[in-house]
Symmetry: none
Subunit: 199 residues, 4 copies
DNA sequence: GATGAATGAGGATTCATTCAT
DNA sequence: AATGAATGAATCCTCATTCAT
């Protein structure tokens, strides 16, 4: 008790707070997480939270932004033009599921709290849309067919939906990452990426 | 204000209340929905809600139960042994997406609120599990391969995840049901249901 | 369930209700006893309670009145001019404690709930005053001194206070009636009933 | 409205709150006292009450504890070995009744509310038991007889019961402290403390 | 820069009480 | 004569948020 918190530079404080916030949000959900609990977890006083983030909403938004960015960066960084299309697909999926696996809390906050908290869905959806866009691109480049962008986007959405379902299993510890990678890659490659429907 | 609906028999009031509750839960989420708002929507007084359902939790649970049941009944009723496997798959998917399309609020409450509200997840998951089981059965009967039950279940989970992603698009009005039926059926048939990976 | 309660004549119904009310009041206290619980205990519907007694307050008052009367009747009936003063005293005390012993619930409601429930204290006090008056009379007739009525009344109050303390022990089952009779009689006889203070 | 008392150190606020709480509890009883009313009386906001005491129950318990302690301290401080037994008895009684006289509200809360509020009786009884113990000791040392501890305890209970009845009169302003002291001392000395029953 | 002290606003829940049948 | 259906009004409690130091 008393004066634990030493004058830290702003940047570090911010991260500390976000870490704590994500922790508590992941555990109790948006509504269940009280500013009190977050301040306690961060070992600072409540007014500090307000000084840095202004409101609970903004704090939550900041969490979402930080994690979305980290997430997208991971995915973007995974692109590797030297691979074959199928390898690219597999690599992308592996990076995605790997990220979820090592950032379970973030995943829960982002995709299982924010997404269905009316006021924040948009925030997540915007970066999810970028993920869809990215995936659509990969699908197109892996595909032998010619389809409309909308078609590819719908496919990407579906694939990402499947990915999220699997991600949930992984975040819960119910499924193994590698099994899931194989399954999803196969699904994407054969089901979506293109062979002509019949012949 | 308005109707003041008076002295209805218990059974009718119950449905009225659940309708109102689902409405408000769908719009504001579990926490955001106040008993006040639900009572107002149902055009009854708060004590009635408590008289009939005892607590907010139990009211929410009652919503989940009613809609889960309706949902499963729809899916179960869709089974039709006279169809070919692929037709069965397609029909199942169409019924599923059709249900979501005409029960958007219920869908949101069930799969987008309850599922990620810690205390209620289990309730939804138990009926989701039955859906997974059902789907796994269809997949097995549509499949030419021999796989383990676990394999089929994982596939079913993935397919349902994809289905939910699509369902969200439909619930939002972003996608057309028929397009989605085609895409999903194709995905399931080719990506999962099993032709041997070409070689 | 359903129609247990047959058309009973008013007088019987009234007693039935009071019995139930005293039961519930004794167990849960005035505030803790809900009209619901009382109606349930009496195996009638709530509106009946209101039909007969008008309000919770009046129902409680009715309980107090009935039991006060029974209580005073018992005490009054105990007077027996053929006994010696000391025997009278002892007999009075025995009747009092005996009554408490066989009417524990009533005792609790009257002297442990009503007395300290602001709105009802008066009701109890008025009949308690009559008990004090009665006791004062006995004390005067047992006394060799000459004292003012006020003195006798104060003595009676003290004696009754002691009696109530003992009554509590009896109502709780902590003390035996006969032991208490001996002690109290002795106390009253020697401590109050008269010998000159010093000599 | 009014003082708006601001930013007091914790210790002072605590007492302020307890003072207000005792006031309101004494006037309306446990159930009749709303947290609203207590907050208003203390001229603070409701959340402060909860911040400091957590719940109505705990607030009530805190009142009981503070007053019990003050009470027992007063009694304990009254012991004075230089006095004769009878003087000790008289002094003890005077201190007791004097305390009640100057702490009428506390007396009401402790012995007239808490004692008959099922959930709190125990709390009061434990300190009342200590008072009984103390009194029993004084009685024994004042007594010329040899009796069992149980006997002395029963006597003490009776004496305290009588004392409480008198205390009520004093708290109501119906009796004078000095008159009561004389009467009770006499009662205790002659009726209980022991000269052998004449023969 | 940092915080202990304080509160407005609102939420779940429970009653005593009354209609309409 | 008797009751199932219905509610206004309060109560306890919590939380995001802000001062004053």
């Amino acid at each position: 008790m008393g004066g634990q918190s030493k004058r830290l530079p702003r940047a570090i404080r911010e991260q500390q707070m976000l870490d704590a916030a994500i922790d508590v949000f992941a555990k109790h959900g948006y509504h269940g997480a009280s500013m009190n609990a977050i301040a306690a977890e961060a070992e600072i006083s409540k007014p500090m939270l307000y000084l840095y983030y202004g409101s609970k909403d903004e704090l939550f938004a900041a969490c979402i932004r930080r994690e979305s960015t980290r997430f997208l960066d991971a995915l973007t960084g995974a692109a590797d033009p030297t691979l074959t299309p199928r390898e690219q697909l597999e690599h992308g999926i592996r990076v995605f599921l790997g990220f979820v696996n090592t950032n379970r809390k973030a995943w829960r906050v982002l995709y299982r709290q924010a997404l269905y908290q009316n006021e924040f869905a948009e925030l997540v959806l915007s970066s999810r849309d970028r993920a869809v866009e990215l995936t659509a691109l990969i699908l197109r480049s892996s595909s032998r067919d010619e389809r409309s962008n909308d078609q590819y986007r719908l496919m990407a959405t579906v694939l990402i939906g499947a990915g999220e379902a699997v991600a949930d299993l992984i975040a819960d510890g119910t499924a193994q990452t590698e099994d899931a990678v194989t399954l999803l890659t196969d699904l994407a490659w054969r089901g979506l990426a293109g062979r002509k429907p019949v012949h």
